[in-house]
């Protein structure tokens, strides 16, 4: 009896990965979680204010495979030197396929002396997390990282 159940269980386990392959990217069924590309572009444009971002200087740390889509840890850090003359004013974190792409704004001051923060975001589907930083001098920094989640983090 035990051997028969073991064989049945292993056959089921072998069959599952084959079935899972075509459903790797399950579509969102809830219309309220639909991406908002217009708002994403607007959030990027409002922050950039016409300036071109540079790829060096902003470190974005986000897991490639997030085990909890309702709490994906995002760390941002400006690696350029923070001085009395030039410090980071604001960093924004964006999730390009979320219903609300602008995840948060982080505002730093000269009194802080650093520009490093970490938050947890929820992602409706696998997408790319972007971060944009603006220095007092007007320099714009950008970083992005693709994240894969197995389910929606919105609890709906």
């Amino acid at each position: 009896m035990q051997r028969r159940t073991l064989m049945a269980a292993s056959a089921a386990a072998l069959a599952l990965p084959a079935l899972a392959q075509p459903q790797a990217k399950a579509p969102l069924t809830n219309a309220a979680l639909a991406p908002n590309p217009a708002e994403f572009r607007k959030a990027m444009a409002d922050f950039a204010q016409g300036r071109k971002p540079q790829a060096e200087g902003l470190h974005l740390d986000v897991p490639t495979l997030a085990d909890n889509p309702a709490a994906v840890p995002v760390k941002v850090k400006v690696t350029l030197p923070i001085t009395e003359q030039d410090w980071c004013e604001e960093i924004i974190v964006l999730a390009d396929l979320n219903p609300a792409p602008l995840a948060c704004r982080l505002q730093f001051t000269a009194a802080a002396g650093t520009a490093e923060a970490a938050v947890r975001v929820r992602l409706s589907q696998s997408q790319t997390v972007h971060a944009l930083a603006r220095m007092k001098s007007g320099k714009l920094l950008a970083a992005s990282h693709a994240v894969t989640v197995a389910a929606s983090g919105c609890g709906m």
């Binding site: 309220a32 979680l33 309702a70 709490a71 994906v72 760390k75 999730a95 979320n98 219903p99 609300a100 792409p101 602008l102 995840a103 948060c104 704004r105 982080l106 505002q107 730093f108 001051t109 009194a111 802080a112 002396g113 650093t114 490093e116 923060a117 970490a118 938050v119 947890r120 975001v121 929820r122 992602l123 983090g153 919105c154 609890g155 709906m156």
Partner: protein
């Protein structure tokens, strides 16, 4: 918003001058996105933390404006340079007008 006080952790309450201090804070908050519906089909109104501020004495160190994409029970971690002693005051405010506060004393040696 909170029956429990905010959970705050500071890397060093007695830092040397110029040391980088790390602060982690978390409050309990439902962070209702405004996209969910209850059983009757009525939209649960949006209620999220809209602003978080960290002051050392009167000087503003860091501010955070979360949106609906921030997780429930919002977690925030930030750093700052320890230059002077003072009271680190953290303050949260949400859509419903509720607030939460926490403070820790920093003594620069």
């Amino acid at each position: 918003m909170n029956q429990k006080p905010p959970r705050v952790w500071i890397s060093n309450a007695t830092p040397k001058k110029g040391e980088v201090l790390r602060v982690r804070a978390q409050i309990e908050h439902v962070m209702e996105s405004g996209l969910r519906q209850d059983e009757a089909g009525k939209i649960r109104p949006r209620n999220i933390v809209t602003r978080f501020e960290a002051h050392l004495g009167t000087a503003l160190l860091f501010a955070w404006e979360p949106g609906i994409s921030i997780s429930q029970n919002p977690y925030i971690e930030f750093t700052f340079l320890a230059r002077e002693s003072g009271e680190l005051r953290l303050h949260w405010k949400d859509d419903a007008g509720q607030t939460a506060s926490a403070s820790k004393a920093i003594a620069v040696v």
